[in-house]
C-alpha cells in the first residue's frame, strides 16, 4: 500500500513538473498529416512485397534494419527458404491503421498471398493480419519489426 502511494506521488510530481516547466517554445511537434502517413505506408509495404516476390538475399536484406526485432538473419533466411519452396504468384493487401512515433512508423495491414509450392500442383491461398514497424535510419525507412502473422 505504502509503495503504491510513493509511486502515485512520484508520478503526480512528474506530471506537474512536465506541465508547468515549459511556457513557450517553437511548435514543431505537430502530428504528420494522416493522409501522408497512409501514402508512405502503402508505398513501403508495396515496395517490400515487390522485393520479396523478386527475391534476392542481398536486396531483401537491404530493406531490413540491422537491429530488426528479434533477428534480421532469421527473417531473411526464413524468407529465402520460403521462396525456395514455393513460387509467389501474387500478394494483395489493404491498410488498416498507420501510426507514427518519432522515428517509427507502424502499419496494420491485412494481406492475401497466393503461392504455388514446387512440390505440389495445388495453388495455396494464405491470408493474415500483420503489424509491421518501419524505422527511419538515415532517411531510409527499413523494416524494424513484424508482429502477428509473418507474410514472408
Amino acid at each position: 500500500m505504502r509503495t503504491k502511494t510513493i509511486i502515485a506521488v512520484l508520478l503526480t510530481s512528474m506530471i506537474v513538473v512536465g506541465c508547468r516547466a515549459v511556457t513557450g517554445a517553437v511548435v514543431d511537434r505537430r502530428a504528420v498529416a494522416q493522409e501522408s502517413l497512409f501514402s508512405l505506408a502503402g508505398t513501403l509495404i508495396k515496395d517490400l512485397f515487390d522485393n520479396y516476390q523478386d527475391f534476392s538475399m542481398e536486396s531483401f536484406r537491404a530493406k531490413v534494419a540491422v537491429d530488426f526485432v528479434s533477428s534480421r538473419n532469421d527473417l531473411v533466411n526464413n524468407a529465402a527458404s520460403n521462396i525456395r519452396a514455393a513460387k509467389v504468384l501474387d500478394i494483395d493487401f489493404s491498410l488498416d491503421q498507420v501510426l507514427s512515433d518519432k522515428d517509427l512508423l507502424m502499419v496494420d495491414l491485412k494481406w492475401q498471398k497466393r503461392t504455388r509450392p514446387y512440390d505440389s500442383s495445388n495453388v495455396v491461398l494464405t491470408e493474415g493480419f500483420t503489424q509491421a514497424v518501419f524505422k527511419n535510419v538515415a532517411g531510409q525507412w527499413l523494416l524494424y519489426q513484424i508482429n502477428k502473422d509473418n507474410p514472408f
Binding site: 516547466a21 511556457t23 542481398e58
Partner: protein, 578 residues
C-alpha cells in the same frame, strides 16, 4: 525475495531521478526550461468567431494559412470494383460482383493557449468487401487526438506505444503522455488497451499500463556525446469482467520491468544495453495459478576505428521470459559480430558472424539447436571512369546442428550471388542479378536442393511524340533442382511496365507479368499471366484530385485443370485532398 529485489530497484530509480526532479523544480521558478536556447513562440489570442471562420475558410484552399488559428484538411477516396471470376473459384480470394470502398481521412489543427496546439485525426471506412472489413457499417478505423507543444505531448486515441525493445512496442488505444520537463529528462505514461474483448476469439479485453523515465547525464562533457539511462515498466492485464460468465478465456497478467540505456563516447565507441525482468501468470482464474519470473538481456557495443566500424550483439533471454506488449525471442543466446571496412571510396566490405542456440536451463525443448551463420558482402565501383557501375557480390554460409543423438537438425545452406546496377545515361538504367542457394539436409538427403535465380532489368525514360514515355522490362529465370529427381522446376518470367503521358492531365499506365513453369512434379506445369491497364485523369492539380479507371486480368492455366482460374477486375477510383 522477489519483492525485496524489485523494491531495491525502485529505490535506485527514485535516487537516480530525484535530483532530476529537484532540477526541474528549480528551472520552473527560474522561468524556463533548462538549457533551452529557443525563443518563446506563443500563439496569438483568437476570438471564437475568428476560430470558426479560419476553420471553415481553410476548406476553400489546399494551401493552409500558417497565421490562421486552425484548419481542416484531409483525403477522400471512393473506389468501386467489379470482380469476375472463372474456373476454380476457390483459388481466388475475390468474390464475384461489385464491391465499394470509401475511405475518409480528415484532420483538424487548432492553435491553443500559449504554445500548445491541438491536432485531431480521424480515419473512417465503409465497405462491403469482406476481404477489407468483416462489417459493413461505417468503421472508425483510427482516431488520434493530441495536445502538444515542442516538449510535451498529451495524446488520446490510437497510438504506437514504444518504450524499450523488451518492455513495450505495440499499437494501443487509450492515453499517452510524453513529457520533457528539461533537456535531460524524459517521461512517458501509457494507460491504454491492447485489444477489445472478443467472444469469437474467446479473449478478454487486454489493458496495458506503462511508465518510462529517461535521464540524460553528463551534458556538455568532454568524454560523452550522449549518456542516457532509462527505466520502464509495462503491465498487460486481462479484464475478466469484459466477457460473459460462461467464457473459457484465460486471464493473463504480465509485467515487464526494464532498465536500458545508451552511452556514446566522443571517441567513437557507443554502447546500447537493456536488462528486463518479467513476471507472467498465464491464467489468473486458474485454481492453481503460478507466476513465472525470468530475465532477458542484450548488450550492443559498436565502435568506429578509422575506416572500420565494428558492432557486437550479445542477446540472452531465458526460456520463461515473456513479454506481451514488447518483443523478444525467448530461450536463446546469441553472439553476433559485424565489421564494415572501407578500403577506399570504391571498395567497401561487410563481414558478419552470427552464432546462436536455444535449449537454455529450464527450456521445454527436447534438444539444443545451434545456428552458425557467416555473411560477407562487397560493395564495389570497379570502373574509375564509370562511377554509376556498381557491383555487389555476396556470400552467406549457414550451418545448423543439434545435440540430440540423431542430430536431426543438421543442415548446411550456402547462398552466393551478385547484383550489378548501372546507368547508361540520364534516362536509361539497367541491372542484372544472379543468386544460387544450395541447401543440404544432412539427415534426409532427398530434401536437399539447389536453386538458381537470374534477373535482368532495363528501364528508360524518353520522349515520344513530345510526351514522356517510361518503360521497364524485367525478364527472369528460376531453376530448382531437388536431389533424387532428374527433372528440374524451371520458371521463365517476363514483366513490363509502361507509363505514357497521353495529355497534360491524362496518364496511361499498363503492365504485364508472365510466369511459365515447367515443373519437376507430374502434372505440375502452369502459366500465370497477369496484366493491367490504367487511365489516370488529373481532375484538379492543386487538390491532387484523380479519377482512375483500371482493368486487371489474372489467368492461371495449369496442367492440372482443376487448379485453373481466371480473374477480371474493373476498378473506378476517385480521390481528392482537401
Amino acid at each position: 525475495m522477489k519483492r525485496s529485489f524489485y523494491l531495491k530497484i525502485f529505490l535506485f530509480v527514485v535516487l537516480l531521478f530525484s535530483s532530476a526532479l529537484a532540477d526541474a523544480a528549480e528551472v520552473y521558478y527560474l522561468g524556463g526550461p533548462q538549457g533551452s536556447s529557443q525563443e518563446a513562440a506563443v500563439n496569438p489570442s483568437y476570438s471564437l468567431k475568428q476560430r470558426f471562420q479560419d476553420l471553415f475558410s481553410s476548406l476553400s484552399s489546399i494551401r493552409k494559412d500558417p497565421e490562421a488559428s486552425g484548419s481542416i484538411s484531409g483525403h477522400l477516396s471512393q473506389t468501386v470494383v467489379h470482380n469476375d471470376i472463372g474456373g476454380n473459384r476457390e483459388k481466388s480470394y475475390l468474390k464475384p460482383g461489385v464491391n465499394y470502398i470509401t475511405d475518409l481521412n480528415f484532420s483538424i489543427q487548432e492553435k491553443l493557449h500559449a504554445d500548445y496546439n491541438f491536432t485531431g485525426q480521424w480515419f473512417l471506412r465503409k465497405t462491403d468487401d469482406p476481404r477489407v472489413e468483416s462489417r459493413r457499417d461505417v468503421r472508425l478505423k483510427q482516431v488520434d487526438l493530441q495536445v502538444a507543444n515542442e516538449r510535451n505531448l498529451y495524446q488520446f486515441g490510437d497510438f504506437y506505444g514504444s518504450f524499450s525493445q523488451f518492455v513495450l512496442g505495440s499499437s494501443l488505444e487509450g492515453f499517452n503522455m510524453d513529457i520533457n520537463p528539461t533537456d535531460d529528462q524524459h517521461y512517458q505514461i501509457v494507460i491504454a488497451r491492447r485489444n477489445e474483448a472478443d467472444t469469437v476469439a474467446n479473449s478478454f479485453q487486454r489493458n496495458v499500463f506503462g511508465f518510462k523515465a529517461d535521464r540524460y547525464l553528463f551534458k556538455g562533457s568532454d568524454l560523452f556525446s550522449d549518456f542516457r539511462i532509462g527505466v520502464q515498466a509495462a503491465s498487460s492485464q486481462d479484464d475478466s469482467a469484459s466477457l460473459p460468465d460462461n467464457h473459457t478465456a484465460k486471464d493473463l497478467r504480465n509485467t515487464v520491468f526494464g532498465l536500458d540505456g545508451e552511452i556514446v563516447f566522443k571517441q567513437g565507441l557507443s554502447i546500447q544495453y537493456e536488462y528486463a525482468g518479467s513476471a507472467y501468470v498465464e491464467d489468473e482464474d486458474a485454481s492453481e495459478k503460478t507466476t513465472t519470473y525470468a530475465n532477458a538481456f542484450r548488450f550492443q557495443p559498436s565502435m568506429r576505428l578509422g575506416k572500420a566500424n565494428v558492432r557486437y550483439l550479445y542477446y540472452y533471454a531465458q526460456p520463461k521470459f515473456y513479454t506481451d506488449a514488447g518483443s523478444s525471442m525467448s530461450d536463446k543466446i546469441q553472439n553476433q559480430v559485424s565489421l564494415d571496412y572501407r578500403f577506399s571510396d570504391r571498395v567497401n566490405v561487410t563481414v558478419s558472424e552470427n552464432y546462436y542456440w536455444d535449449h537454455l536451463k529450464g527450456s521445454s525443448r527436447t534438444k539444443r539447436t545451434f545456428n552458425d551463420e557467416k555473411y560477407m558482402t562487397w560493395n564495389l565501383l570497379p570502373l574509375a571512369s564509370r562511377r554509376s557501375f556498381n557491383l555487389r557480390p555476396y556470400v552467406n554460409y549457414q550451418v545448423r546442428n543439434s545435440d540430440d543423438p540423431g542430430n536431426s537438425a543438421e543442415s548446411t545452406t550456402l547462398t552466393g550471388g551478385f547484383d550489378i546496377s548501372d546507368r547508361l545515361n540520364a534516362h536509361t538504367n539497367w541491372g542484372v542479378g544472379y543468386e544460387c542457394r544450395s541447401f543440404i539436409d544432412r539427415v534426409t538427403r532427398s530434401n536437399s536442393e539447389i536453386f538458381h535465380r537470374i534477373r535482368f532489368n532495363w528501364a528508360q525514360d524518353m520522349m515520344l511524340w513530345a510526351r514522356r514515355l517510361y518503360y521497364a522490362i524485367t525478364p527472369n529465370v528460376d531453376i530448382r533442382h531437388r536431389k533424387g529427381n532428374d527433372n528440374k522446376d524451371v520458371t521463365v518470367g517476363a514483366g513490363f511496365n509502361v507509363q505514357y503521358d497521353l495529355f497534360q492531365r491524362v496518364f496511361l499506365r499498363m503492365g504485364n507479368t508472365l510466369a511459365d513453369t515447367n515443373s519437376a512434379s507430374p502434372s505440375g506445369d502452369y502459366v500465370n499471366n497477369r496484366g493491367f491497364w490504367e487511365v489516370d485523369f488529373l481532375v484538379d492539380k492543386e487538390r491532387s484530385a484523380h479519377f482512375i479507371i483500371r482493368g486487371e486480368r489474372n489467368n492461371y492455366t495449369a496442367e492440372n485443370g482443376a487448379q485453373s482460374y481466371k480473374e477480371q477486375r474493373v476498378i473506378a477510383k476517385f480521390e481528392v485532398n482537401f
